[in-house]
Point group: none
Chain length 256, copies 2
Amino acid sequence: MNRPLAISRQDHILNALDAAGAVSVSLLAERLGVSRETIRRDLKTLADQGRANLVHGGAARTATAEPSLAARQAANAPGKAAIGRKAASFVEDGMVVILDSGSTTLALAYALVERKDITVLTNSLPIALLLCRSSDVKVMMLGGEIDPNDEAAFGIDTLSALEHFRVDLVFIGVGGVSPEGELTDYSRLASEQRHRMMKAGQKVFLLVDHSKFERRTPVKMATVSRIAGLIVDKPPPRRIAQAFAARRWPVIEAKA
Amino acid sequence: MNRPLAISRQDHILNALDAAGAVSVSLLAERLGVSRETIRRDLKTLADQGRANLVHGGAARTATAEPSLAARQAANAPGKAAIGRKAASFVEDGMVVILDSGSTTLALAYALVERKDITVLTNSLPIALLLCRSSDVKVMMLGGEIDPNDEAAFGIDTLSALEHFRVDLVFIGVGGVSPEGELTDYSRLASEQRHRMMKAGQKVFLLVDHSKFERRTPVKMATVSRIAGLIVDKPPPRRIAQAFAARRWPVIEAKA
DNA sequence: CAGAAATTGCCACAAAATGCCACATCGGCG
DNA sequence: CGCCGATGTGGCATTTTGTGGCAATTTCTG
């Protein structure tokens, strides 16, 4: 049982920062099995490098001073924006696409604002509202019970609504990617719903920003065998990359 | 043990503020699991930064321009708020209610923010987002094609989603009231959908602010015979009042 | 409209969590 | 062996949060 290297600890901290926008000393100390003092020293190091912002009790994303818009959207915003732009480039006029809920797919929605002649199906309230307010995209909202965390609809009604559509492209966000390269999700229902979304369309793209790598969430995600592409903002760690290659999932890197 | 970071608490407050325009100390304290005093201190901090405006019992958003729908909401905002409060007083714990789309029903949603143990069915994106961001109300979104003007779902999917619910109260906004006292709507589809909503519930309330009186919109609105009440902010002109009385529609006047 | 009741604001102090520093401990390495 | 860097420990200062009392405000009621 060797203690984790300082580097990988700080790496973990940065990922957590990207993912959540803020981290607490106590929680990190518990998770990483080291003393709070060590975490504090790590945070101080990162702060000296300008990669984190110290606040009482923990650290926050460097940019966290300003944005009043959705907090999670700002987490790793540049990476997600790049993924969004890349994903948008696969959408052609006349297509019908599904956008899953989540901050990465919201970034894709931003990238679609200028488009027309496309139809977007989504269960995400912010995506639907964004597109109907500031674009000419035709929006179909998938109804259902609203999960306040995701600000999106889930449940039987959402699933059955999916049945009625012919869909060209499907864009799915991923909760996490285990170190073994397995895709994971937060809840059983969400996973099932994403699976149905994938089956509803011709081509499936998965959107994964680098803060998701090696993050474990509880539920294994069911996928379809054919994945048109896995859009990332940074190359994944080797082990994950190999797992993707073994399943013949093309990894598409979006450049900022 | 692990206290959530102060900064994420304030982030949450800003989000709620953004969605609802105003937040209350008590509700935030309860939702975030901290004492009211702490919330007060947070609000004071935000106010010092110019990011919130303190008011008795909570804080309000600093005057920020908000797009389309807010503009319409601003038309006769006080009257609509009064109607919303009055309408909310009919909603009891445990009830399932339908909220139609529109600025007046949005005002009702604002009035429901502090409530819990109620379920709201709505086809309106802003209402769903407001309630899921700043209240403990359970929200079911009725899916369908989004009409950018109303920022709400309409269509076959919306209608069929209605089938599955048992509803206590239905709150419907009205497009206009002709000088003859006839209720009118903007489109055939919207009218039909509102009719279905009415039939789905036990009691139907119509929300009419005085700017709707003697305004003609193109489509005659189908109603159900029994209307539990017609909530207004000012008494209607005599001819309209007579027409309402003839149909035995109780007129309920909301006071500011 | 007045007075009561409930809610909220405000202040001071106590309790808890965190920050910070000095020093001890551990393990590798020349 | 002794040096060095990294980490843990403990004590104390600082910050944050909770609590209770009381004044001010709002709301209810007759």
